[in-house]
């Protein structure tokens, strides 16, 4: 058992092990810190910054998903600075990406008072629908760039490296090598990327067709031998 340390979160004194993250301690206290890029089975990438909290004395806010607690730390998980950052990040996201299939993000927007139309005068990221294989479709208009699919496909799970990042800044996007269709990549169609995608950007082909109201082509199920 590691030595316990004592810190203050939202006015409450708590004890924790020194290797715990702020998020772990706050979760145990029943506080609700929002999160998007964090996934318990993936390497933290700290890209979304929705989990930021205020650590008294720190110059910037810190991401609770990776920042480790320290003896005597005084942390606020919902101070005005924290609230503003969360609200603005959600507003910026909503102006760029189609969040209609991201119920968690929409709930966060409600909780943190984000005005989803505040930046709507700006450009949106726009992509064609990639429907290039029988197993899943990729609709990057719904992609928030959480990196989960890339990491799952790479050394966090599958070691296949079919997905990668392209572009830079606002124009960043998920792609394949030279933007080749999925069947021409190293993809083995394991479906792990689809399973971790939080926004509906990656979707199983059958689910997609059902959603579109399109009859599922016979070939998609007839191809299998009878059970």
């Amino acid at each position: 058992m590691k030595d316990q340390i004592t810190l203050t979160i939202d006015g409450q004194t708590v004890r924790a092990t020194p290797d715990a993250t702020i998020m772990e301690v706050a979760d145990a206290m029943g506080l609700s810190i929002p999160r998007l890029c964090y996934h318990p089975h993936l390497t933290p990438n700290t890209v979304c910054r929705l989990c930021v909290v205020e650590w008294e004395g720190a110059r910037t806010l810190v991401p609770a998903c990776v920042a480790r607690v320290r003896e005597g730390a005084v942390i606020h998980t919902a101070s005005p600075r924290v609230q503003r950052a969360r609200r603005v990040i959600l507003e910026l996201l909503a102006s760029t990406v189609d969040l209609s299939e991201s119920p968690t993000l929409l709930a966060y927007a409600q909780a943190w008072g984000a005005d989803l139309r505040r930046f709507e005068a700006g450009a949106r990221r726009q992509f064609p629908l990639y429907d290039d294989n029988p197993f899943y479709v990729r609709d990057y208009n719904k992609c928030v760039l959480c990196w989960r699919c890339v990491q799952t496909c790479a050394d966090d799970l599958q070691y296949t490296y079919a997905l990668t990042l392209g572009g830079r800044g606002f124009h960043s996007h998920i792609t394949t090598a030279f933007n080749r269709p999925m069947p021409e990549t190293t993809c083995v169609f394991c479906g792990n990327c689809v399973a971790v995608c939080p926004t509906g950007a990656l979707k199983g082909k059958v689910a997609f067709l059902v959603q579109q109201g399109t009859p599922v082509p016979v070939a998609l199920w007839r191809a299998r031998p009878p059970r």
Partner: protein, 412 residues
């Protein structure tokens, strides 16, 4: 005016000649250092009060000590020669005019912190600096200043040069490591800091070119001498890059006690005749504006802080009334939108929306609420971005608004 120290050799020696370098004090500091214990060298740098010249002003000795204390090996020394901050060109002058000084300083640093390998990461556009450095490294190696058993000692150290490919963000230390490692140049969340887990995950000392260039002089003349120059909080000579509306743009060496006015009107020869200062952008695109009324401010960190301006990399861009300031702000905003790596949301999205809003304001066609949008984006980028790029991307624009240097058009 005191005699230049960092620029002492620049323009006076053949930068390709080791003999010239040696004739001007060259490699004497290294010989001296090899007769001391590494801890003594670290102590010396600490005592000098030297602070990083790459922009963040971090105490150099503290960094050296942190790397020296790391038990893990190998350790690396990295010279940050990416110099991509707009308006900054001091490292280029040192690299092209005095390349052996960087090599000597890196060997000293390697000895002090216990590293056996050094990397110089040179901005991709710096062709001449790259060729001069490459030459200096191979000539120094042939002469026994690099490689195994340097100058007959037990110490071995060698240097590899890597070139950037044009991304501003690759000057950020952790993005620079990613780039050397062959990955996409994106910053890492800190901690862990480079001193613990830097290049290839190993303890790494990373310093700016100008920071390193101070080292041999500190060794030769001592920390007390170094502290006599400059201010207590910022000892030593400093290079300033003066550009824009001045008669003699260029790199000037001065202690930070010099005022903006002395630098601009004295050293750089003042503005073109008939022109007056509209604003001064200090610290580059990541910096902030000083007003004409603030020109008697010394360039010490404290005095600058009082007027809300960072010293940064030492870039001083003088803008006269011929240039519409909104045009400058447009370019600053576009610069950050273009250079954001896209890793974290506040900067990936914020720099782009900031640019769109600044464009609207510059055109005189803002939407209701645009200034509040700008302020919210600015605060969010400063508070929640991963790296210094996003954290400073709104500084110049905010300072121009706050100091009333631009007038905000009213929405139609």
């Amino acid at each position: 005016m005191i005699a230049p120290i960092l620029l002492r050799r620049v323009g006076h020696i053949d930068p390709e000649s080791l003999a010239d370098y040696e004739a001007y004090e060259g490699f004497r500091a290294l010989r001296q250092v090899l007769m001391r214990r590494p801890e003594q060298v670290v102590e010396m740098v600490k005592a000098s009060g030297l602070r990083g010249r790459g922009g963040a002003l971090f105490p150099t000795g503290v960094k050296w000590e942190a790397v020296a204390r790391q038990p893990r090996r190998p350790k690396y020394v990295v010279c940050n020669a990416d110099e991509s901050e707009p308006g900054t060109f001091k490292d280029r002058v040192l690299l092209e005019g005095d390349p052996f000084a960087v090599v000597e300083a890196m060997v000293i640093a390697g000895y002090a912190v216990g590293a056996s390998k050094g990397y110089i990461y040179v901005r991709g556009e710096y062709h001449r600096a790259y060729t001069r450095l490459s030459r200096a490294v191979s000539v120094a190696r042939e002469a026994g200043y690099l490689g195994t058993h340097i100058l007959g000692s037990d110490f071995s150290f060698d240097i590899e040069i890597r070139r950037g490919a044009g991304a501003y963000v690759c000057g950020e230390e952790t993005a620079l490591f990613e780039s050397i490692e062959g990955k996409r140049g994106m910053p890492r969340q800190k901690p862990p800091f480079p001193t613990e887990q830097g290049l290839f995950g190993q303890p790494t000392l990373i310093n700016n070119v100008e920071t390193l260039a101070c080292i041999p002089w500190i060794v030769r003349s001592g920390p007390a001498w170094f502290r006599e120059i400059g201010s207590p909080a910022m000892p030593g000579p400093k290079l300033f890059c003066v550009s824009g509306a001045v008669q003699r743009p260029g790199v000037y060496e001065a202690p930070v006690t010099i005022t903006l006015r002395e630098l601009i009107e004295g050293m750089a020869g003042g503005l073109p005749s008939g022109q007056e200062v509209q604003a001064i952008l200090v610290g580059g695109a990541a910096g902030a504006f000083a007003t004409p009324e603030e020109m008697d401010t010394p360039l010490t960190p404290e005095a600058l802080q009082a007027i809300g301006v960072p010293l940064g990399s030492g870039a001083i861009m003088v803008i006269d009334h011929r240039v519409p300031l909104w045009e400058v702000l447009r370019r600053v905003a576009r610069f950050f939108a273009h250079e954001s790596c896209g890793k974290c949301y506040p900067c990936q999205l914020g720099t782009y929306r900031q640019w769109e809003i600044v464009e609207r304001l510059a055109r005189g066609e803002p939407l209701p609420g645009d200034v509040e949008r700008l302020r919210d984006i600015a605060a969010t980028m400063a508070d929640a971005s991963i790296c210094g790029l996003g954290q400073t991307a709104a500084n110049a624009i905010l300072s121009a608004l706050e100091k009333g240097l631009v007038s905000v058009p009213t929405p139609a």
